[in-house]
Amino acid sequence: MPSLTTAPPPTRREPWRRSGPPSHRPNLFAVAIRGLRTRHWTFYLGAAILLLVLLVLLLTPWIAPYDPAAQDLSNRLAGPSTEHWLGTDHLGRDVLSRLMWGGRFSVTIAAITLVICAVVGTVLGAFAARRGGWVDEVLMRTVDVLVCFPDVLIALLLIALFGTSYGTLIAALTITGWTPFARLMRGLALEINAKEYVEAAEILGSPKWYILYRHVIPNAIRPVLAMSFLRFGHKLITVGALSYLGLGVQPPDSDWGAMLLEAQPYMETAAWLGIIPGVAIFITALSVTMIGQGLDVQKPRRKRATVTGARDASPVRLAPIEGEAQ
């Protein structure tokens, strides 16, 4: 009968240490796009539109047909023609060129705001879930209250206090914008922290950063990414709303909302001026929404109807959290 003491000591696997067997490092990029091939067709449509829009905006300095500020008063409010594809505005400026240059402002401001909101929100949400107790309570009650704050109104107030600038604009939209990310991340973190594999990792003595990197981030990255895309349209619309009220992007710069504002007096005589920039916002917002929902919702597999009359009821996560007030 072999003695217990002669058994070889068990080899401990400590994957967070660089030495030892090849570690199972998550490829975050692969995790984020995993299952990209099984998406709903609207996901690809949205991605195609967004890529096209981004490409055009990126190449604007080289492909814009005219100087967006060049006036031609003899040719004002002209309809679409071969020279001016989308016509000219009340100062005879080329609408297509202005649309392309304006889009750079709209999309950039919305994107910067979104990234700040996403980072602040996820960090605070994860922190609230980790700490629990009064920290969690205070943060989540703050979120509850901020959800009731109409973001246009808060932006108005901050702009009134600190003047119009891109910094104020971005800060104003961030104050109310981080809350959906905090809610989402808190929920995800609570869910992930309760998993057996996290418990196992803790028992094995993995450091906190390792658990965060190996388990929490890979599990949270897709919902957070989906939420980011879903919120992008909202940001774009809000930035446009502030410019439409004359409080966002200031002349001589212009964005899609400011173009709509300028077009207001000419709605009857030159309706395209008030329609085209709106279509641009709409198309861009729709494309990111399609991408966001495509990332969030798995392609429904057809199953035969169950006794309940409902088909394939896999849970859908984001929608209830995402549908925040304006």
């Binding site: 209250v145 709509l260 057809r302 309940t308 409902a310 929608a319 209830p320």
Partner: protein, 313 residues
Amino acid sequence: MLKFLVRRTLVLVITLGIVSVLAFLIPYVGGGDPARKILQARVSDPSLTQAQVDALSKELGLDRPILDQYLHWLGNAVTGDFGYSYTSRVPVSTLVVPALSVSISLALAALVVALVIALPLGIAAATRRGGKIDNAATFASQTAVSAPEYWVGPVLVLIFAQYLGWLPSGGWSGAAYIVMPAIALALRPMGYFTQVSRAAMTEVLAAPYITAARSRGLSFPRTLVRHGLRNGILPVMTLFSFWFAGLLGGSVVIEVIFNIPGMGRLLYTSVINNDVPVIQGGLMWILTIAVVVTTITDLLYGVLNPAIRVTHA
């Protein structure tokens, strides 16, 4: 349940307290002497003597300690007295209360339109996931969510007021005036309501008690009404309260476009004119209503769903 009630009420009071401090501090943020700002707003003359500023400072009690001022302001605010508007020289409440009633009716009209369309659509989509109705509902909701209301509004005016002449293009003096702004405002909540009711119903329909009800021989529509709706409607209710609160001051753009004398436009103009008492009063009114409405929704949640009552108590 009582503990839950007390807890929520406490949170409500603390929240409003913090908000009131922030609202009180508005004139002090951004630097500068508030008395000077008030005079500037009144006379729009940048060359003011220090004596004039000091006189007003004394008259309004702005030279007293700030805590003193806050308590005085809060005492008045609790009774609904936020002072006089700088620009129109009338009590703030005579401006805010009518504007609030306009905004409440507009918000309710928009949200009821949204709910009436979205709820059946969401439920239909949830019962046949991946089917034609589901795809149509998803696409419709994505479209609705992506449409900026400051674009939909003017386009609606162009079609229904300018070309067809069916509806008035702006103003607020009858039922016809509410139609276009309500529709323009309803689009985005409609999109969200559809998604949320679909998600909630999907979850509910997969629950064991639905299977149990169906196994007992209850017809599907009856199961839906008796067991599904009661649970499925809860998230929609929460979202409704969020949107209601948000639209009270958040319909700025639509109120400006349609020339509606609501809360959004009032706050917009007072922000432009730096009319601090109106901003403070308006914000406090809106946020009080918003926080009370969301708290009541939370409590209703507890009443409708006993599971929450137990876990929160």
